[in-house]
Amino acid sequence: MAEPSSSTVDRAADRRTPRRRISAGKIAVYVVLILALIPVIFPIYYAFVGSVMPGGDLASSPPRIFPSGFHWSNVTGVFDSIPLGRQYLNSVVQAGIITIAQLITSIFAAYAFALMPMWGRRYVFGAFMATLMVPAESIIIPNYLHIGDWHLLSSSFGVVIGLVLPFLANMFGTFLLRQAFLQFPTELRDAATMDGCGHLRFLWRILVPLARPSIAAAGVYIFLTAWNQYFWPLLVTRSASQQTLQIGITQLRNAEVGDLGLVVAGAALSVIPTLLIVIFGQRYIVRGLTAGAVR
């Protein structure tokens, strides 16, 4: 897989860091960068520090930026106020199902588009790509009404189905994987066919393992997008135990009006998994992003 982006970013960075003397210009660059970094990092700092600040600190005047002490009661308070553990689970299930389903539907479609003969491929592919142009918000009303018509909103199990159903396939993942599959040398495919290897076996035994980095990139991207959904889960979920994390922390803010520390702690707790993904899975994200450069 010739994948341009992620590795080249790091290489580029390393490559351009020869051991040279630090000039005045560079110091200026550092200063500007650090100054720019402060407003970027501050809300994150504030979310985490605010969650362990004693009660009055967040609302004190003049404002406190450093905690006057350290305590866990905000964090434990979150769990008393909303079923955070349950909502975590809901989000994992929701984003997990969407990711796996989208990967499967995308792998099949991408393979068909990239490596199989297909009458009218251009037009079919164009029609499929057109679905990317339709903003989800423009069809959210009928989708919501349909989900309700199918009686999916009256039980917790139904809600889980309703949460994921419209997102089981998406052309973004398909497009990304098609790009990857197209890099695949056709000779290998032909050789495999000669050996009597059918399409299904070739796809799952040979192509998918080889395309793992691209699939991982697509997966991370799909997962993050699903995890961060707001509008759809807001409409579909009802009770706190059905809500995803995103809706849960918003409800926490509505419910705990007097306790900013609790609200901030909820936000901080909810962001930990994605923060870890961004820090440690950055190269996969970058791969997904740049492949999407022709979304």
Binding site: K26, M116, W119, S138, V264, V294
Partner: protein
Amino acid sequence: MTAQTRGPAEAADRGTATDASRADRPARPTPRHGRDHALAYLFLVPSTIVFALFVVWPLGDSVYLSLHGSDLFGGASVFVGLDNYRDMFTSAEFGKVLLNTLEFVLLTVIPGVLGALVVVLLLEAQIRGTRVLRTAFALPFAFSVATASVIFSVIYNYQIGLANGILGFLGIGKVGWTTDPHVAMFALALTTVWMNLGYNVLVLSAGVGSIPAEVMEAARLDGASGLKLVRRIILPLLSPQLFFLVVVTTIQSLQSFGQIHILTKGGPDGSTTTLVYSIYKKAFAFGSSDFGTASAQAMVLLVIVLACTGIQFGVLQRKVHY
């Protein structure tokens, strides 16, 4: 895009450029049985079902709803033709919604892309710790719209929030971040720009990273450095990514909902009611259930987003073919 930048731009976009030539010719050089064609279609069945049920059908429904009045419960009642559209386009309220949407897009896209560009260019200044710094700038990407908005709502709180606390400490009067109609849109845009910064930095860094090292070295040997290097080499080579980012963040801005729902609820005085929020308000808020009007507005959103994507595809078509 000028002719001289075209070549390297394609190189920068390697992933998509290479496949362009291949997708157009038949995938197999040898003729195949019809069975293979059928199998290819079979592989598309799962996606087709999802798209038919959750994109195509609802699209039809949106059109249908937009042509009908609403009964007591929001359901489609009588056919009203284009009345919903007429009422919408003649109301001052909707004009304001469109203006707000435009304002929000401009206030989020321009600073968001320019800010990220400056950061990425500074990161290219051959300094140490680039990787750590880049990760730091990318961190907001981890924040969902809900998390970011909740944190900013605490900061923006009028009476006891940090933002006004700092202003008060500096002896400046308090600002109604989410309650002053002249400020709320900026506060909303600031939150959005912050959220988008991580994504924008990652995309542009990848773009800069994919500029061939030889090109940079050659330019340096020619004595290009600093701003000259940026203007002559990096910016032209980065133009595909910049263009992509502008289009994508424009569409994202058009679709923004969570931050508005959490921070301002479209207020104060309707000053932050964008198109998507207006759809939500008509359809779901205050027990309104006016699905007819909401669907008419949804059609407007669809057309605007189609136009944006159309522009993107149109421009990209010149160098990328499917």
